[in-house]
């Protein structure tokens, strides 16, 4: 399993949520990326990191699907990616509201 270490940004862990729980348009920062499901392919977390899902990067949900609110379109840095839920579930974030991370 690929685990990317906690970022130096010191925020209380209680404020950290899964990217899937973030509401549309809310700005957040990536805290960590790790395969959430042990059965998931090991390269998953690594590929997310290669796409730019790295601790400290700005992230925001642009759009979600209808029924199961999947897939989700995510802005990371200056790029946008469509992710399925199991992919987004690997990413933990810290919302910038009510106060910045």
């Amino acid at each position: 399993m690929v685990t990317i270490s906690q970022s130096p940004l010191a925020t209380p862990a209680s404020r950290h949520i899964q990217l899937t729980e973030l509401s549309i348009g809310t700005r957040a920062r990536v805290v960590s990326v790790a395969s959430a499901d042990a059965a998931a392919p090991v390269e998953l977390g690594r590929r997310l990191a290669e796409l730019g899902f790295l601790p400290g990067e700005a992230v925001r949900i642009v759009a979600r699907g209808l029924m199961t609110r999947a897939p989700i379109a995510v802005r990371i840095g200056t790029g946008t990616f469509a992710l399925r839920l199991f992919e987004a579930a690997c990413i933990r974030v810290c919302p910038e509201q009510p106060q910045p991370c």
Partner: protein, 625 residues
């Protein structure tokens, strides 16, 4: 110049993240016309071209598939990594790397630059799409960037030549002489390495500018509507519907013109030539066959006009987003969408495009269903039968019935593909974690020059098929249908006594249960080489069966007259499924490196075609009796 002939030309590789404009740059550098579009994964194999610099230096240029890193996950990225690391057999390591970066997305692109620096090959960075960056208010200090990276940086605009000239100048200065190779040692990056690189990227961006994260972009606002859970699917449905309506509505005038032209040539030949074997070959063989295929060129151009517009605007990955739930529910990878959509043009590039799918089993499932997407070669067959049997009638809301039926045929193809994918999933193929991770690029207006080139290429491909394979098969079919000559005192049309006539009679036994007559049965055989050939073959066979002076171009009324509606519907059903294309099977063999899958594919598609046609024929007979 003598030195050039002795030393091999330096090899320069274009490398970069997906969709950063490598191929556009390659086309300008080498004068090529490789396909470019606004989505990740257009280029899935290495392409080589060459460039003669103003000072007379010949350099070879390699265009490589886009990669997010040098540690590949997909077959297309593997190509890039293998070439760069000198691991690809029969290929030397590039002397020099041009790392193409998207100036609007350096935060992501610069990590690959840092990886390439680690690799140690001589490198120059092309800061591409600087025009779009400037419009977005992104200003990058290229000199400072070069100083920080320790490599030359050239600003380029992939579709304009000015920046490319500057790039060539830098290449000239650096690529001579061809460098002594040293083996690159590459250790896969750890997560800590990636994080380290990202902090370096942040530091550099802080110094050179060009890191604007703030604000909602135009693309975001468009996405707010296009990806909206309710409006998004509606817009997609309207777009698709428009395409199929246009294929019929817009094509009528040019199709009539082509028909008139073919008929005029036929009349002229008929009057000018003395009655002879040659006259028969030209009129019944060539003109009847080729003319009946040629008529469908306008419809194919219209279809590709829409496909190219969608590809170039950046809408395709959005469509993948909107339909991802459907794909996922039948166990397909989200990344299967674009290969499947490409298959609407032709299954061959579609199957090649599955190289962007990570998991081998997911990739195989996508390959197996790609031929069920209705490729453009099927359009002439569908259009012929629809034109003959479906009345031109306007339904409510101004919809054309013919366009609706065509849309329905495409939907049947897609629905059966989904059903097959579902069966494959149930039988344990597929990984359970099918990736999506699809980049949604910024929208841009389709480039008219690209559109023009793309359409012209389609015309060239179509015309060259008509002029080579279709023409040749028509001549062969004409010969098989004309010899041996009928015995004295024969009453039927001469074709009945020919080789093709006997073959058709024999095949007709096999196809009678699904309603095909001997003329259709004959036409299916050359149709194996290319689907649209079947239309030409019908043209030739009917021209030879006709007793009177029927001239080519009149195939539509002929079949409307001589086929029953159940037969026509059955043939449509046959063409939805039948693997009537040997090149597709050959591509599957190459991509899977085994005979197993093309054989399975041919068997299951023929099976579905026969069963589908049988049911269609029987149901139609029962309903109409």
């Amino acid at each position: 110049m003598e030195a050039l002939s002795s030393a091999p030309s330096p090899l320069i590789a274009l490398v970069g993240n997906p969709n950063c404009g490598k191929t556009a740059l390659f086309n300008i550098l080498t004068g090529s016309r490789q396909k470019v579009a606004n989505y990740a994964g257009v280029t899935v194999e290495r392409k080589e071209g060459s460039l003669l610099t103003p000072s007379g230096l010949r350099v070879r240029i390699l265009d490589l598939p886009g990669a997010y890193s040098l540690d590949p996950l997909t077959p297309d990225e593997q190509v890039t990594a293998d070439v760069l690391l000198g691991r690809r057999s029969g290929e030397t390591q590039p002397d020099f790397v041009v790392c193409v970066t998207d100036a609007t997305n350096l935060r992501q692109n610069l990590r690959l630059v840092l990886s390439l620096k680690r690799l140690g090959l001589p490198m120059v960075v092309a800061l591409n799409m600087t025009d779009i960056a400037r419009r977005k208010g992104i200003v990058i200090d290229a000199e400072r960037l070069a100083a920080e990276l320790g490599v030359p940086v050239v600003e380029t605009i992939g579709v304009k030549t000015a920046g490319v000239r500057a790039l060539i100048k830098v290449l000239e200065g650096l690529a001579l002489p061809a460098r002594a190779r040293r083996p690159a040692v590459w250790l896969p990056l750890s997560s800590a390495d990636i994080e380290h690189d990202q902090s370096e990227v942040r530091r550099i961006l802080g110094l050179v500018g060009g890191d604007r994260l703030d604000g909602v972009t135009v693309s975001d606002r468009v996405d707010g509507v296009v990806l909206h859970p309710v409006f998004g699917p509606l817009i997609l449905a309207v777009i698709l519907f428009l395409v199929f309506q246009a294929v019929f509505a817009w094509a009528q005038v040019p199709m009539d013109a082509i028909k008139l032209g073919v008929a005029a040539v036929g009349n002229w030949l008929g009057a000018a030539l003395p009655s002879s074997l040659l006259k028969g070959l030209l009129i019944d063989g060539v003109l009847a066959g080729v003319g009946s295929v040629l008529v469908f060129l306008p419809q194919i151009i219209i279809l590709f006009f829409f496909i190219l517009m969608l590809e170039d605007s950046g809408y395709l990955p959005r469509a993948a987003f909107l339909l991802d739930r459907v794909m996922g529910s039948v166990g397909l990878s989200g990344r299967a969408f674009i290969p499947l959509l490409s298959s609407f043009a032709c299954a061959i590039p579609g199957i090649m495009a599955t190289r962007t799918i990570q998991n081998a089993r997911d990739r195989l499932a996508t390959i197996m269903i790609a031929p069920l997407m209705t490729c453009s070669a099927r359009l002439p067959v569908y259009a012929l039968i629809i034109g003959a049997f479906i009345p031109r009638r306007t339904l409510w809301g101004g919809l054309e019935l013919q366009g609706v039926v065509l849309f329905g045929l495409y939907i049947v193809g897609v629905a059966s593909a989904m059903a097959v994918a579902f069966v494959l999933k149930r039988t344990g193929r597929g990984s359970g974690f099918q990736a999506l991770m699809l980049e949604l690029p910024a929208y841009h207006w389709p480039n008219l020059r690209n559109l023009g080139i793309g359409l012209w290429q389609r015309v060239e491909i179509f015309m060259s098929r008509v002029g080579t394979i279709i023409l040749a098969l028509m001549v062969i079919l004409w010969a098989l249908s004309s010899f041996p000559a009928p015995p004295p005192g024969a009453t039927g049309p001469p074709i009945q006594y020919s080789i093709a006539g006997h073959l058709g009679a024999w095949l007709a036994v096999l196809f009678a249960p699904i309603g095909f007559n001997w003329q259709i049965s004959i036409a299916l055989v050359p149709g194996l080489a290319a689907r649209e050939v079947a239309v030409g073959a019908l043209g030739t066979v009917y021209a030879l069966s006709a007793t009177g002076d029927d001239v080519s171009g009149a195939l539509t009324p002929l079949i409307a007259h001589s086929w029953s509606l159940p037969t026509a519907l059955s043939l449509l059903a046959w063409y939805v499924f039948a693997p009537q294309c040997l090149s597709t099977l050959a591509t599957v063999k190459r991509e899977t490196n085994s005979w197993r899958y093309p054989i399975i594919m041919a068997a299951y598609l023929f099976g579905m075609a026969y069963v589908g046609s049988w049911i269609t024929y029987r149901v139609a007979m029962a309903l109409l009796s």
